[in-house]
Symmetry: C2
Subunit: 271 residues, 2 copies
Amino acid sequence: MKRSERLVAMTHYFLENPKTLSSLPYFVEKYDAAKSSISEDIDIINDMFKKMGIGELHTVAGAAGGVEYIPDLSKEEAESIVTHLITHLEDASRILPGGYVYMSDLLGHPKYVQDIGKVFASAFDHSEVDYIVTVATKGIPLAYAVAQVIGVPVVIIRRDPKVTEGSTVSINYVSGSSRKIQTMVLAKRSIKKDANVLIVDDFMKAGGTIQGMISLMDEFEANVKGIGVLAEAEDEDEERKVQDYISLIKMMEVDEQNQTIKVEKGNYFNS
Amino acid sequence: MKRSERLVAMTHYFLENPKTLSSLPYFVEKYDAAKSSISEDIDIINDMFKKMGIGELHTVAGAAGGVEYIPDLSKEEAESIVTHLITHLEDASRILPGGYVYMSDLLGHPKYVQDIGKVFASAFDHSEVDYIVTVATKGIPLAYAVAQVIGVPVVIIRRDPKVTEGSTVSINYVSGSSRKIQTMVLAKRSIKKDANVLIVDDFMKAGGTIQGMISLMDEFEANVKGIGVLAEAEDEDEERKVQDYISLIKMMEVDEQNQTIKVEKGNYFNS
């Protein structure tokens, strides 16, 4: 195999297998090339990944060593993704009765979802994270997008128990905005003890749902290492139940009368 | 930029933007290279993608032309992915009370989910598909994985209406296995008239849910171009409500007494 061919194959391999340590001998055998050639290929790909701002190849020395792709995204790139999203969101045709904003089409778009996943993944230190946790339904695509980047499984909390989940742990919590008692359910075997998790969701108003997820993680003796929401509602009357979180977008004002939506960048871009 | 660097950058570009036609001048400007060099790069990548069995670069001639990445997967590769999945599924510790099988961990794994998405995408002619349609909750990751490969949006049918969906269309249907009346809800603005859709779900028993999705698509005047389920239950007593579908896995027998699970390849591999 020629270098040009190996570069295509190895670029594909690293992009498909983020955060997976692969030994040099693995590549030597896979591509039937000398170790020195593989090393040079890795240098070329690493330099280019860095130039493109999509992360880098991290080399671990020693017998158990190898090379792994650590995805990343520059803050400028993250800002440009979010700015693009805001332009879409400010479209007045998204206004729904009651002052809600229709977002399902954006959350249905794999390209947007993947981009958002990359922003979240770069926003957190994910070196020790074991799971991405979300709650059904709209957070699911975002959670997978993050999980894909950092190479860990997704755990989905449900609103209702299902027979195909086996034994479950459930908690009741009070929704911050509607003040209704709600339930969250998670299969007992879905998270191992002492796991580190990131919580990802699409929307946060008062934070009751996120607070519920944190309580449920306590039940599993898991450590919440970070909380990310795509959009948060600007809501000055109410105190947030959750303080330490990252938001990418802030819904400032939805004016049904004049048909305008005002959206700003979230707290992630304030720091 | 050197050829080696362009190959890394362009491989990344094509993998990130499946089924997106990009003109040669676009690459000429992006990478500051001669048109002839870009053409050669594209040939190298195309040959390598074909050799790797991950699809090909399709060139469209003319002023509005360009090149696009059409992902694909060989049937052998698909078979090896599904065989690997079956090995995992036959683990007796997955047996739940009532003879159900725990699958949430596999469906939580981004790598497995992406692989399954590639198998589905290669199983269908997706040249004219506008949306991937699924129903909450477990089908969602699979639907996104397919959508990501073929570059179209996902539409999620819900069990309950939500205020953030705006006006909705709902249908009632009879679940095939439990014989209970259930409801499906979809936002009116989520699918445009005459759209072509693929239906994707994680599990099919009698087929009532899939039948419900087909009826709902009728309401939207959408054309169901294909139906794919990850696993189907072997269920000889009952007649399938849906005939024309692809399954990747068939759950043959779950024996709680002797703690054994028998899983086979689905109908996709019979033809």
